[in-house]
């Protein structure tokens, strides 16, 4: 198993247009992701957003509340309509007093394909091998109990849905 990347696959029961919009339109992306961006996604552009609790799950929104307003930065990489959207970012870069600009980023890619029953979305985050050890420790210092709750919520969803 690779230590450099995480890959997720999901079949979404919706049209390709709808899925593409949800991912490539910054306002829609922000609504489910939980970030308020300052404009549309443009290839090559750095986007600044503010963390805002997600609009689609009140339980999770409550847990995200402590991080509300924190700065969130992505650099959009590629936009291939209906097919691929990617950006670079720094996971857990939420210490307001710290300058992250010299630190390595990971790449997040969303790839869409038609499949039986809907749209196959593949999400890949890669580049973890380049993240220094000291930065990884922050993943645990940030919001320890929040993540435990979130993991329980995920278990609830997955049990309800029975995704293989």
């Amino acid at each position: 198993m690779s230590t450099d990347r995480i890959e997720k696959r999901i079949v979404l029961k919706a049209s390709r247009e709808r899925v593409w919009r949800a991912i490539s339109d910054s306002a829609r992306f922000g609504a489910w992701f939980g970030v308020d961006f300052d404009g549309p996604f443009v290839a090559g552009a750095e986007m600044i957003g503010r963390i805002m609790p997600t609009q689609v799950d009140p339980d999770v929104a409550r847990l995200q509340e402590p991080a509300r307003g924190m700065k969130f930065v992505i650099v959009v990489e590629r936009i291939e309509p209906m097919t691929r959207f990617s950006f670079c970012w720094r996971p857990f870069a939420i210490d307001p007093g710290h300058d992250y600009s010299q630190e390595p980023m990971t790449l997040v890619e969303f790839v869409l394909a038609e499949t039986e029953g809907g749209v196959l979305l593949t999400i890949t985050e890669s580049g973890f091998d380049g993240i220094p050890l000291a930065r990884r420790a922050q993943a645990f210092e940030a919001n320890e109990s929040g993540w435990e709750h979130q993991t329980r919520l995920i278990a609830k969803y997955l049990a309800r849905d029975n995704q293989p």
Partner: protein
């Protein structure tokens, strides 16, 4: 004795693990507990020098620790570091699972 915390520019943890020989060394140390270099070299088709080089990469990444024992060195797993590695990726993975559920709700149930 090595310090517990590593400098930010230490060799990436995962690059240290991404080698068959080093993975095998980790596996042996996990199974058999602390071992001296001479034992780790037995049964490996490598010279003592090559094995030591690999062990030093693991030590630099904080995955093993060593101490002088007579004229040899004894190596042991730094278990916490390995667990942290796995836990870090699991945490990121769980975050993505949560986001994916929100995306699903958004496109399938909501006004997307």
């Amino acid at each position: 004795m090595r310090a517990q915390s590593l400098p930010a520019d230490a060799a990436p943890l995962f690059a240290a693990l991404g080698d068959r020989v080093r993975l095998a060394l980790i596996a042996r140390l996990s199974d058999q507990g602390p071992l001296p270099t001479v034992r780790l070299t037995q049964g490996a088709r490598l010279t003592r020098q090559a094995v030591t080089k690999h062990l030093k990469v693991l030590e630099d990444a904080g995955l093993v620790r060593s101490e002088r024992v007579g004229r040899d060195r004894a190596w042991r797993i730094e278990a916490r570091q390995l667990a942290r590695t796995r836990a870090y990726l699991d945490r990121i993975s769980a975050q993505w699972d949560a986001r994916i559920e929100r995306l699903r709700a958004f496109v399938e149930d909501g006004d997307a």
